[in-house]
């Protein structure tokens, strides 16, 4: 039993973080530059989950949490699951099957989209003339598939758990980003002749953000290990990880805005980017209470 990253994993974590900081800063998530996807492909962030790469789930979770910390493009999630479970490589858009229609994210230059259809992973063709707009999460475009397209499903339940795990990792990163942004601001911003983080009312908001992020990250690690080992309760642990990660991302997203005060409500500052990302992630492979309440998890 060991739930801490080993040296190789820590090195990969650091390398991912360094690259993101230099090439994909969080503040630019409001409008990602053309060509970012090509860079991601060139650096190997796309396709690293292909079976031939033999990347284990815990390592994957660590890397995706770092990518998520910088609000990386959400098509990385669908492309990663596609690389592992389908014949598609390269960019695969993210599909969210709703009651009325199918929403597509990051569909630019993608021919297919992947997402959850009922309980299974499925993929659909994307119409060439699919009209895209900006989404609530400004880092991604959104499109609506009006037709009722044929869905090619993958019946292995592990594929759905894989997507849920990676989305949870993105949420954990998002929660971390909001926590760190709030703590930095509380250290810098002065009122009453001292940093606002001196006041317990502000400090404790930040401490609670740290608690939520640590709780979610711990469960993410456990879930990744359970999925990797093929444990019978893997679905329970991945579901728990998703629920806690969603909450951490949403609650930290809101708390970060409060800590920032007036500037936190503006479009120019970054806090809203984390909150809006959290709202997108909450709808992807959502955690079902039924699984958490089952008699034997």
């Amino acid at each position: 039993m060991d739930l801490t990253p080993d040296e190789d994993q820590m090195a990969l974590q650091t390398a991912t973080n360094d690259w993101c900081r230099a090439h994909m800063p969080l503040a630019e998530a409001r409008s990602r530059p053309e060509g970012l996807w090509q860079q991601l492909e060139m650096m190997g962030w796309v396709g690293m989950t292909a079976p031939a790469m033999d990347l284990d789930h815990p390592t994957e979770a660590l890397v995706f949490a770092e990518l998520g910390r910088f609000l990386a493009p959400v098509a990385l999630l669908s492309s990663a699951v596609a690389a592992r479970w389908t014949k598609f490589d390269g960019k695969v858009a993210l599909a969210l099957a709703g009651t009325d229609n199918i929403r597509l994210f990051d569909s630019h230059n993608a021919t297919h989209a992947l997402g959850l259809f009922d309980a299974n992973i499925g993929s659909v063709n994307i119409d060439a003339d699919c009209e895209t707009r900006r989404s609530l999460d400004l880092s991604t475009s959104i499109a609506h598939l009006q037709s009722n397209p044929p869905v090619e499903t993958i019946n292995d339940p592990r594929a759905a758990l894989h997507l849920q795990l990676l989305v949870a990792a993105f949420s954990v990163g998002c929660a971390d980003a909001a926590r760190d942004m709030a703590a930095d601001y509380a250290t810098l911003r002065q009122q009453f002749d001292r940093p606002i983080g001196w006041f317990q009312s502000l400090k404790h908001i930040c401490s609670d953000m740290a608690v939520r992020a640590a709780v979610a990250r711990s469960q993410l690690y456990y879930a990744a290990c359970a999925l990797q080992a093929g444990e019978s309760d893997a679905a329970f642990h991945v579901t728990a990880a998703k629920r806690l990660a969603d909450q951490a991302a949403l609650d930290n997203g809101r708390a970060n805005i409060q800590v920032h005060g007036g500037i936190g409500m503006t479009d120019e500052a970054s806090p809203h980017l984390c909150l809006k990302r959290a709202h997108l992630l909450q709808f992807l492979a959502p955690a079902e209470s039924r699984i958490l309440l089952a008699v034997s998890p």
Binding site: M1, A183, T187, H204, D208, A210, S218, A241, L293
Partner: protein, 383 residues
């Protein structure tokens, strides 16, 4: 990263399970410390004789010298088997003993540690004072040096098991005119020494488990200072960091048993059909799982680096608040039956009332949040 245990660890788990199954006392542990003391001592002796006391303590002092992972396995099986709380031995096993292992002289360790493991010596903690609660550095109890003795005057409060204890981990001021963290010493105080008066205090849950302690010219040998005169704050903090790190594993495992029982109860009485209750239960099931993951992460950190990680203070706070949410849910599921309770019954109402201690004792939830904000996030110190 992996969550598997080695064949040796799995065999160890089997042994724990088998022994507990065969040896857990049929008798229920009495609630009042004074009534429970014989039970506690006898049970601790039984644990020691079978080799289950001090699993990861050094063999030189009566421990087994095994790994912290094996200690965790024992505590997990202990909670799963519903074995009795170690009660009056709690302070010696979880605070006093580990502090002595880290800071005491060979002579002190050789004398005290085996007695703690065997349940022969009961310890209590003398940190808080009427004027020094959250502000622990405000300690005023004084120890004046007179030859090779300390002459102690002052008082301590909220001292668990004081009225049944033989020894106390006493933090007091040994330098005249010293302020705050300086000039404090950590001393082994003989609770049977002349000049000590103990006034037991009853809790709102009914049992008398802690006390106020008064010192009137109590004489303690200077040899009983641990870690050197004037180093009391440092020594005391080594105990508290232990408590925040690995001292609460049994509670954490107990919570996973409790949430499963709560879900069964809610299913049985139909309250699970209330969406709000079902949602809270699902939430706590996920949180209890995460707590175990966080504990394993922390234990892995201890194995890797020799000490608990900075997130240990998060575990302490999260365990306490999750425990209280579980206790509140248990009472909610009881409904108006809560009104039938007065004092003394060991049940959900009792646990609920007793559970208020967990966000107060050993550093309030507010102090824990200060620590998390200042030490983990680097926010400016408020004090």
């Amino acid at each position: 990263m992996d969550i598997g245990f080695s064949p040796e660890e799995m065999r160890f788990r089997e042994q724990c399970r088998d022994w507990l199954h065969a040896n857990i006392p049929a008798e229920i542990r009495p609630l009042d410390a004074a009534d429970a003391i014989d039970f506690d001592k006898h049970w601790q002796r039984q644990l020691f004789d079978a080799g289950w006391a001090g699993i990861n303590w050094p063999t030189d002092y009566g421990g087994r010298g095994l790994s912290i992972v094996q200690q965790v396995i024992w505590l997990e099986e202990y909670a799963k088997a519903h074995a009795p709380w170690i009660g009056a031995n709690f302070v010696g096993i979880n605070h006093g003993g580990p502090t002595l292992i880290l800071n005491a002289s060979e002579e002190q360790k050789a004398f005290h540690l085996p007695q703690i493991l065997k349940g022969e010596a009961i310890w209590c903690q003398g940190f808080s004072e009427p004027g020094a609660g959250s502000d622990l550095a405000g300690i005023q109890t004084r120890g004046r040096i007179d030859g090779d003795e300390l002459v102690i005057n002052g008082s301590k409060i909220w001292t668990s098991f004081a009225h049944v204890a033989d020894w106390q981990e006493l933090v007091l001021r040994t330098e005249d005119g010293s302020r705050r963290h300086a000039g404090l010493s950590w001393v082994i105080c003989d609770m049977h020494a002349p000049g000590i008066t103990i006034r037991p205090i009853r809790k709102m849950s009914g049992q008398t488990e802690f006390a106020e302690v008064f010192y009137d010219d109590v004489r303690i040998p200077l040899n009983n200072v641990v870690g050197g005169l004037g180093n009391g704050w440092k020594v005391a903090m080594s105990t508290l960091s232990f408590e925040r790190g690995t001292g609460f594993i049994a509670d954490q495992v107990k919570q996973s048993e409790e949430i499963a029982e709560l879900i069964s109860k809610a299913r049985a009485n139909g309250m699970i059909n209330n969406d709000h209750i079902a949602d809270q239960l699902a939430q706590m099931r996920a949180e209890v799982a995460a707590l175990r993951a966080m504990t394993y992460r922390n234990i892995s950190e201890v194995v890797r680096t020799g000490q608990p990680g900075p997130e240990a203070s998060i575990i302490r706070l999260f365990t306490a608040e999750l425990g209280q949410r579980l206790e509140r849910m248990a009472v909610l599921l009881l409904g108006e039956v809560i009104l039938d309770f007065a004092y003394g019954d060991d049940n959900a109402v009792h646990d609920y009332l007793r559970g208020f201690a967990s966000t107060i004792a050993g550093g309030t939830a507010q102090i824990q949040r200060d620590i998390i904000g200042e030490r983990l996030l680097g926010l400016p110190k408020s004090r």
